[in-house]
């Protein structure tokens, strides 16, 4: 069994895992960080999006062993103690969720989006970029609003450059 070592939400972790362990299973079962969800198991729905070395990816398409040495951020790594990340706050303010199942992946994709576009996000870009995240209850409108608001909040609080 390969030994994998990586940094998850700023903490060094390492474990012996079966080679075929998916990153999402490693995060959920081994590390007990269950904010990252599994919705479809076919890399379509986006509930499992995390950041690996600063890039958004679907953690059900990646082996834990492929992330050897990488720095991983999950939804649990966004808030600072009791202070929600501006994007989390924006989802709460704008009611960008109903059942909440897709929300961790939505927020991880949203933060990645803002980082890549430097906070200049129009509605059309947000909708295009949400291609890889499915929500079955909100109809997306409030999610799009939340991301636009979160983008502004991240920019004005200087978090775009900081992360």
């Amino acid at each position: 069994m390969p030994k994998v070592s990586m940094t998850v939400n700023g903490q060094a972790v390492s474990a012996d895992v079966e080679a075929r362990t998916l990153l999402v299973d490693f995060i959920r079962e081994q590390l007990r960080l269950t904010g990252t969800h599994v919705g479809c198991d076919t890399s379509q729905c986006g509930a499992c999006v995390v950041h690996v070395d600063g890039r958004a990816l679907k953690s059900c398409t990646t082996l834990a062993a492929q992330c050897e040495g990488a720095s991983v951020t999950t939804i649990e790594g966004l808030a600072k103690g009791d202070d929600l990340h501006p994007m989390q706050e924006a989802f709460r303010e704008n009611h960008g969720l109903q059942c909440g199942f897709c929300t961790p992946g939505m927020i991880m994709s949203a933060v990645d989006m803002v980082k890549r576009h430097g906070g200049k996000l129009d509605e059309q870009t947000i909708r295009h970029e949400l291609e890889g995240n499915l929500c079955r209850c909100t109809g997306y409108h409030n999610i799009v609003k939340a991301i636009a608001a979160g983008s502004e909040a991240m920019t004005s609080s200087g978090r775009v450059a900081a992360e």
Partner: protein
């Protein structure tokens, strides 16, 4: 229990490849979904896994005077952001619509052609760019034109001891502009019903001197439309949409499946080619954005 190999050099990888049957793993965006039927991709109990994603020498895009070389680990995201000649605008447009950002960050251009799905969006793009595929094994290296690399439905000439190491594309002719259009049941995250890629170059007077047009998802393997290309040469670019004839599509053999009927695909392919020519003739410059 199956073994897992994660070499950091091509040489080590080829030694593993030669020694035993392995599942080659690059971005994993095709390998995982096709095995996600909860038996998990349990094949790993049988086949060892050769993860090539840590081989740095396969990650480069190189541009020289006569050609461009895309290392086998070039991702869709790298493609969409790269600074490339105008002829690549179609391939770059395709890369923006493959599976969403998260899939583009992992999925590779080479994984797409090795999967060799009739609906693989990269394949018509590579046909339109006259790409060659570079393969390596412990025995040596060879290059194969893209039209010979894919031999049938999910079949390629890549041998059991070989790995694809790069996509090679000759520098396109002066003034060549590329474009790509895909039709799916909806706008996003969708498998193509039909797609078309073209690279066309016209001289200062607007006369076409280079044309390559390829259609995907309308035959087992995507096809160039050589008769259509011949009909375009020497003609004004502005007239391109009017030069399309039914007979130019004879090479295609569209089938009916759960996404569309053969008849629908047949007419969709013609409409897509016409729409693409209208775009190319309306705005021959600047389409990268």
């Amino acid at each position: 229990m199956a073994a897992y190999f994660r070499p950091t050099t091509l040489e080590e990888a080829l030694a593993v490849r030669a020694a035993q049957p392995v599942t080659v793993l690059a971005g994993g965006t095709d390998v995982y979904p096709i095995r996600a039927n909860k038996v998990g991709w349990g094949d790993m109990h049988r086949d060892d896994v050769l993860d090539i994603s840590a081989i740095a020498e396969l990650k480069e895009i190189e541009q020289t005077a006569d050609r461009l070389r895309f290392g086998a680990l070039t991702t869709w995201s790298q493609m969409r952001r790269a600074d490339l000649p105008e002829a690549f605008a179609g391939y770059q447009a395709a890369s923006r619509d493959v599976g969403g950002v998260q899939v583009q960050n992992r999925g590779t251009l080479v994984g797409n052609i090795c999967t060799a799905s009739p609906a693989g969006d990269g394949i018509p793009c590579l046909l339109s760019l006259d790409a060659e595929i570079e393969l390596a094994s412990a025995r040596g290296r060879r290059t194969v034109p893209i039209q010979d690399f894919i031999t049938g439905y999910r079949q390629t000439v890549c041998g059991h001891d070989e790995l694809v190491t790069a996509i090679l594309i000759p520098r396109p002719p002066a003034g060549a502009v590329g474009d790509f259009l895909k039709l799916g049941a909806r706008r996003y995250l969708v498998i193509s019903i039909a797609m078309v890629a073209a690279v066309i170059a016209a001289d200062d007077t607007g006369v076409i001197h280079h044309a390559s047009v390829a259609v995907g998802a309308c035959s087992e393997v995507a096809k160039r439309l050589h008769d259509l290309e011949a009909a375009l040469l020497g003609q004004p670019l502005a007239s391109a949409p009017d030069l399309i004839e039914h007979a130019h599509f004879a090479a295609l053999k569209p089938i009916g499946d759960l996404r569309a009927s053969g008849h629908y695909r047949d007419s969709a392919a013609r409409d897509l080619v016409r729409d693409l020519f209208v775009r190319l003739s309306a705005e021959p410059k600047r389409r990268a954005a």
